[in-house]
Each structure stands twice: as C-alpha cells, then as structure tokens.
Symmetry: C2
Subunit: 512 residues, 2 copies
C-alpha cells in the first residue's frame, strides 16, 4: 500500500476510486439502504477495523509523519487513541444500552392518555465527515467522528483532507480491505488543495461532522442552511482555551506552571484545538517569574514545519494581526525554520491590564484579532487578575484552565462557584480544568469535548467519548406496538439484555 | 384578575407591564444573573406555580375558551396536562438525577491521560418562548417549553400570542403573584396582531422555543442565524401525520377506524399539531366503506370558530390550494359557520393512486400543496397501498399511524421492520403509532414529540416528557477538580443522592 504515496491527488480518473466510483446522490441513496449490522455484529465490524489498523501501525504513522511533519512520538499516542476509540465504540454497541431505551407501560398515573410508549435512538443515515488537518488519525478517516457514526449505524463518507491525502487513502484502503466497501466511503480531492464541500451535501447525506476553522465551519453551515431539508452539522471550530493563574499559584510555583504551559503550547507545534491561547497572569513577583520563564521557553524553542503551507501562512498572518492590535507587544519568538511550511513559536503580551480603566480594557478586548484563536504555537499573556476573565474573553471555548493553590485559594472561589448562574465565570467552556493545561483529552464517558460558539456550533454535544455517538441519532417512540414488531431493544423479553428505563427506573430485567 | 380582560392589547404604556418594564438586552442580562434555586427548592418553585394555576382553574379555562373558541371540555384536559407537566418537572428536579452526572475516576484502562473527569448538565441561560396558538395552556405561558426551561434552571420570557393575549396575561399574572417577577417574563404585543420576534432575540437570550407554522419557524431561524452568536432554536412546525390502513384492517373494521379518525380530525376542530392530515386507504370494499363513513362524518360535522381570523383565512386558503392540486377532488364538506373565524371541516381525496404509473404518482406528490400541512379540520384520503408511503410522503412528520389487523397482518411487516435501515418506511416520524390516531400525546419518559424536518428543526429532541428539559442545557466537564469546588451532583459524597454513572455503571452510591 505504500505505492499509494506516488499517486497524484490531481488524477481525475482515480478520484474516489477506493469505494465510491463517483460520489453523488445515487451513491448516498444506496448507502441509505445498506444492511447495517446490529448489536454484537456491529461491534465486530468496529473491532475488525481497529485490528486492521493496528496491523498497519508503522506505515500509517510513517505516512502521517511524512505528510504532516508531526513527530512519530506525537503520532503514536494519537494512533493509540484512534484504535482505542474504535474499540470503545465496539464494546459500547456490543452491549447495546447506548440506545437509551425507555419503556412506559400503561399506568394510572400517566399525564394524558395511558398508551404504552417505548423509545430508543435510531441512526440518522449516511454521515459526511470533514476530517481535521491536525489529527490525521484521531480525527481522520477512522477517527472519532467516523467511529461514532459507524457505531450509531450510519455509513460514513470522508472528504479527503488536502493536508494528508496519502494518509487518508492508506486508511481508507485498509478499511475497505478489512470490511468491504459499504461502510466507509472516501472522496478524494479533484485538485491538490481542494476544500470543496458542496459535493458532499447531497440530499441523502443526513448529517455532517466537521473539524476545522471557524470560517470553514461557517461555510458548511451556509451551504447546509440553503438545502431544502436542513441536516444537522456538528462543527468543531476555533477555541482560545484561556488559562487563569491565581496569585497564590503564581507565587508558589510560577516557574513550574510556565514549563507546563510551554510544553502544552509546543506539543504538536501548537496545532491543537486545545492549545492554550490566552494566559491570564496576575501582577507581582510570582507572575513576573512565570512570564519570564515562559518567554525563555518560547524563545528557546526550535522552529518546525507546520501541517501545510497554507496553515503556516495563516499562522504567520494571525500572529501579525494580533501583534498589530492595540496594547499588544511581542514578548518572545522562537528560532525560525525556513521553507514554505517553516515557522517559529511566539509569545505575545497585553500588559498591566489591571491598572487600566474599564473602558480601555473593553477597547482592547473588543478587537476581534485578540479574541480569535491563533492556530499554531503562539499564546497571548495577559497581565491581569483572575476575575477579569469575563471581560477578556466572553466567547465560547473548548476549555478553561485554572491554576490555583488548592481548593482554599481565595481567588478560586468566585471562579469555580458551581452555584453561580450558569456556572459563573467559567461558563464559557465545555471543560473546566483544575491545575492542568488544556491539551490532553481523556476519552471517557464524562468527557466533554465541545463548548459554546465559536468553539463549536453545538455546545449540547461532545466530539470525544461514548456520548459522541448521540450526534448521529434521533429518538423514535413506538406507541401500543405489538411486541413482535418492536425493535429487540424495546421488546418485553429484553433479548439483548440491555440497560433500559422501565417506568423511570433503570433495569436490565425483562417485563413479565 | 378578570379585569385584565378589559385592557387593550394595543396599549403601549402597559406593554410588558407584568414583569418586564421594557424587555431589552439589559433586562435579559439581568435574568442571566438571577440566583436560580436548585434541587428541591427548584422543585418547590415549579410546584408553587402549579398550585397557583390550579387554584385559578375555572377563570383560566373560561378565558382561554372565550378567546380561542376551544371548548371548555377540550381545555380541561389541556389544563390538567399543563399542571401535570409542571408537577412532573417539579419531581424531576427535586430528585436531581436529570443532570446525567457521570464520573470517571483515574483508571489504568483510560484512553489518553488518566484525568479525573466529571460531567453534568448546566442551564444555558434565559430562554425565549414563542407559545402556540392552538394550546394556550399546555404550550402557553406555563406550558411545556416554559416548564422544562424553568426546571433546567433557565429564566423564561414568553412572547404574547396574538390569538390569546388575555389568557396569556392572566397566566403571567398568576405566576408573578405566586413566585415573583424573576423567573417568568411576559412580553405583550405592541399591536393586536404582532408577530414580531426581533425584540426577543437579544444577545442575552440563550435559546428559543417556538411552536407554530413552518413559515414562522423559518423566520425565527433566519433572524437567529444572522446573530453574532447563534443560539439554539427548537421549533415545532408543520406535520401531516400520515395514517396508513392495511387491507386487512380496512376489511375487518373500516367503519370503526373511520369513526376514530373523524373524532381525531374534529377534536379541537383540527387545530392540533398531531391532526391526521393524510390517510392512506387501500382499494377494495373495506377501504370503500371506511372512506364512505369518514365522508359521512365530515359532512355531518358542524361548523366552528377557529382560533383566530387569520388562522381561519389561512385554513380556507390551504384547502383551496389542495383542492386545486392535480388529481385532488373534494369528498365532503361539513356545515359552514358564519363570521370572520367560522369554518367548515372538509375531506379531500386523491383516488386510485395504485393504478397509476410511477411517474404520475411522483407528479401528483411533487406538488407542495399536497405535501404541506393543512392547519385545521381537513384531511386528504389517498387511495393506495400501504407500501406507497415513501412515495406519497417523503417528508418528516411528528407521527405516523398504522392501522393493522394485529402483528400478523402481512401488510405491516414491511412497514414496521425495525431492522430495516433507519427504521424502514416509518423512519419519517418521531412517533410510530399502532392502531390509533395521532392525537393524544402521553407525557412520559419514552414519549417523543418531535420528528424530522419540517415537523421540527431538531429531530434529536422532544418537546414533551421529562427529556424536554435537555433542550435548555449543555454538558460541562470538570477535570481534576477538588471535591469541595465541584457542584454537589459531582462530589464524592453524592450529597443529593442522585443517580450517577461511576466509571460507566449507574449508582446512587457515594465514592469512598
């Protein structure tokens, strides 16, 4: 399969060759009618994909490293996450309880008519996935969006990402060889930097997963909103991931926090949706030491190639934009790297915000340049008190981190007040992190990888963890339906042995 | 409070008088900061509202009957449903398990870093509710949208519906007297038929509930999509609620089915989102008898006033539109009623579709007039076989009903095949009903009152039942957070005793 790498992405005749001779409405309509395996069999489908990928671990990591300039050491845990996520969904669908089956039998206490009503989640139908530039594996052809959609019972068609076509084709080939052509389609680009989306938004595509820029997300939303039947779009877009350091934390261990944040910024050369983009550091000696150490680390960082030339160009332009904002100065710049993809890390700063009048603070932070994400190895240090977060960054983010000196830290009380309306100052994010950087996302039930706009367009969902499956489903209720005609998940005997809610109480029992 | 009814809806000085001196961004921002009660106290808030409404049962039903021309006998169960729904949510939030708390402790089997992650649902913030014309109580000021939003912890501002301003003000007054002005705002219309929505879509409104026409829903979506921060809109719009009668059912009990459907169409004079709008009746004697009886019942139905003059006009216009569609003829018309709101029930028919070539079937059903809802006491009988549903009505609907002769009815097998992709032919609806009309919605956990577009814009949600609360929330994850700083629902001791998921297993236990 390594010969794939010699093929030109611009070859029209081989475009869409893997699975979709030509991807168009008819094909998507056919995907709607394929006989998708259920239960344990669907679990085996996902496990088969995971195993096939595992047996091609080295060539996959090599292809991705070659195309993206991410390090094999960075891609190895990403590979494990891709395979681990497929296996997590394999176990989830084999158990089957994920459909949230609920049964209300006729009861005297019902509000309204006492029908027998039974509900479960059903798949929406074919899902189009626009994979991420920055996670060619964990959010690529077999990444979280595809894995969760397949787990839900939705065939998937993945749009090739122009930053890693060879990796994408390799993954698509492995899947097709392992499980056949029906489940995962792969649409190659017509030319090497094709960001086109219109061809995927055909009537038979029932939902869209997108991971990318705010602009890209907006473009897809616009196309979809013009469709006669609007389909749900789940877009993960831009996030600044504010980090707040309390006074006590800065005094006690400013230098250690700086090292942790530098590692977070420089990992994968800042090309992470959870890269810390704004760091609120209090005035005082501890804060000064933190900022000094962070500047040293960034200044000492080597230059690297970014994912693609256009991503490098956008990064350079964004850093320039921020630098030209009122009140901003450049604090440190890492070593440069030459070439079309080469870039330097960089640290910017807005100083002494705590001594400015309110109006001026507002003026500084009304500059869009300062509020938007910089995609790449850059962060803005903001010298101010923790309670200024609401003025500095009122927009949605995937994460917000608080570095504090334990639970008794006086600064933390107002920030982390769960009884405050909508969670207090930290209500801007989907994940609130205590004493840690935003990078490093655990794949687990309680994870929320999501957040208010513009971090995502659907803050009610998560893109990571088992609940990501729910994006590709909708509930259906069966009323007074004969047992034999019900889906097995809703039948009295509970033949799949799933966890269900029976008149409000969770149980795996059959109904007598 | 009965003097309210003398006030003019056009009085500018008293507009928004109940709660909101002027409803604007500042007010909504204030609503964001109110100290919303939690847990059992929030349960008591909802119970207090329910009790206050109960003690004004007679004047509320009288006001609604007077304004809407719905019968007191029709409004009485609606009143019970309004109060019952408030009490259902009162119990739900008093228990507290609705937040879907999930805890994943550090574990060696984690995918990615082994952080302690804990998730729960948090309220979005102030919710704007555009109440329904046709359910002045169950979907009015204190209806399902308001009750579920308050239960979630979201203050509510309700836009007055021009079809029942006096009822709306009476309800708003009762709520304000019972629980004060902070929780439910009420925005009067500036002129008697004000459908304006722009004033409610201010930055501090975090979500919108809408129940009304497809056009109204589209207008709100358009406004919201132009907002700098898009907010979620939950719009319930138009639904034709197809009813399919199998050959065996028609032969066995065509006349009884006709009576059940006539009752369903004529209840509330057809002004129900779940009114059966399309009835597929097979050829043959049984089908003939069914249609004949249904026509008799509609022809014999008395005229009635509709909810408002403009609703009557729209109804007359829609019936006319359908009647002018190719292939449609008028089968029966009920007795007329004079006056600006008076109307007659009516039955239309598309005959012998089963003997037409495919192309002609497609031509007939490509007419939007035939596919759209008629809001009012009208239905279209379609003489065809059950398996034609996909050709006749490919669009989303709240419900689909199947009248069959038991589980062994040969016609039903293909229709109700749960293993078919996306649920088979019945995949167009949120609720699949066996041997019953679409009207009559049980308020229960397993209920789905929703469905694919254009029935709603959010088929992943339900507007009825406890899960309606989830529309007004989003999940937040706390990572490595000290126990004392966590919301009580996520603390080790589980002080509220709620049902949580601990490492994937549901439990009410504390964590040692």
């Amino acid at each position: 399969m390594s010969t794939e790498s010699d093929q030109s992405a611009g070859d029209h005749d081989t475009a869409c060759r893997h699975v979709l001779p030509v991807f168009h409405a008819t094909h998507a309509a056919r995907m709607r009618t394929i006989d998708f395996p259920v239960g344990a069999e669907r679990g085996r489908l996902l496990e088969t994909i995971a195993s096939a990928l595992s047996s091609h671990r080295d060539p996959i990591i090599a292809a991705a490293a070659d195309e993206t300039a991410l390090l094999p050491a960075e891609l190895a845990p990403e590979f494990d996450r891709m395979v681990g996520t497929l296996r997590m969904f394999s176990a989830l669908v084999a158990d089957g309880s994920w459909v949230h089956a609920a049964i209300d039998t006729p009861s005297g206490s019902a509000i309204g008519p006492t029908h027998d009503v039974r509900r479960l989640l059903v798949p929406l139908g074919p899902v189009a996935v626009f994979s991420a530039s920055n996670f060619p594996l964990a959010y690529g052809v077999c990444g979280g969006d595809s894995a969760s959609a397949l787990a839900a019972g939705c065939p998937v068609v993945v749009k090739e990402h122009p930053a890693h076509p060879r990796t994408g084709r390799l993954l698509a080939d492995i899947v097709a060889a392992a499980v056949g052509p029906d489940f995962v389609g792969y649409l190659e680009n017509r030319d090497p930097a094709d960001f086109g989306v219109a061809e995927l938004l055909v009537p038979s595509v029932c939902a869209v997963g997108f991971t990318g820029s705010t602009g890209g997300g907006a473009a897809i939303q616009l196309l979809a909103s013009a469709a006669p039947v609007p389909v749900p779009i789940f877009a993960e877009m831009g996030s600044v991931n504010p980090v707040i350091v309390t006074n006590a934390a800065a005094e006690r261990r400013g230098r250690a926090i700086a090292d942790e944040l530098a590692d977070s910024i420089l990992s994968r050369f800042g090309q992470q949706c959870t890269c810390p983009g704004q760091i609120l550091v209090p005035p005082g000696d501890g804060g000064d030491a933190l900022v000094q150490r962070l500047a040293e680390r960034i200044a000492g960082a080597g230059g690297r190639d970014m994912l693609a030339p256009w991503i490098r160009d956008a990064y350079v332009q964004r850093v320039d934009e921020v630098q030209r904002c009122r009140g901003v100065r450049l604090l440190a710049r890492g070593r440069a790297k030459d070439g079309a993809r080469g870039a330097a890390a960089c640290l910017l700063s807005v100083d002494d915000l705590y001594i400015r009048p309110d109006d001026e603070v507002k003026n500084v932070f009304s500059q869009d340049g300062l509020r938007d994400e910089i995609f790449g190895p850059a962060a803005v240090v903001i010298r101010t008190f923790p309670d200024m977060l609401g003025d500095v960054q009122p927009r949605g983010s995937l994460t917000v981190s608080v570095y504090a000196d334990g639970a008794d830290d006086p600064d933390v009380e107002d920030l982390l007040d769960p009884s405050a309306p909508a969670g207090g100052s930290l209500s801007i994010a989907g994940r609130v992190i205590f004493n840690g950087p935003p990078t490093g996302v655990r794949v687990a039930t309680a994870m929320v990888h999501g957040g208010p706009f513009p971090a995502t367009n659907r803050p009610d969902t998560t893109a990571v963890g088992p609940r990501a499956i729910e994006r590709w489903c909708r509930p259906v209720c069966f009323q007074n339906c004969p047992d034999a005609l019900l889906p097995p998940e809703l039948q009295n005997a509970n033949p799949r042995g799933i966890l269900r809610t029976l008149n409000g109480v969770p149980t795996r029992d059959a109904i007598a």
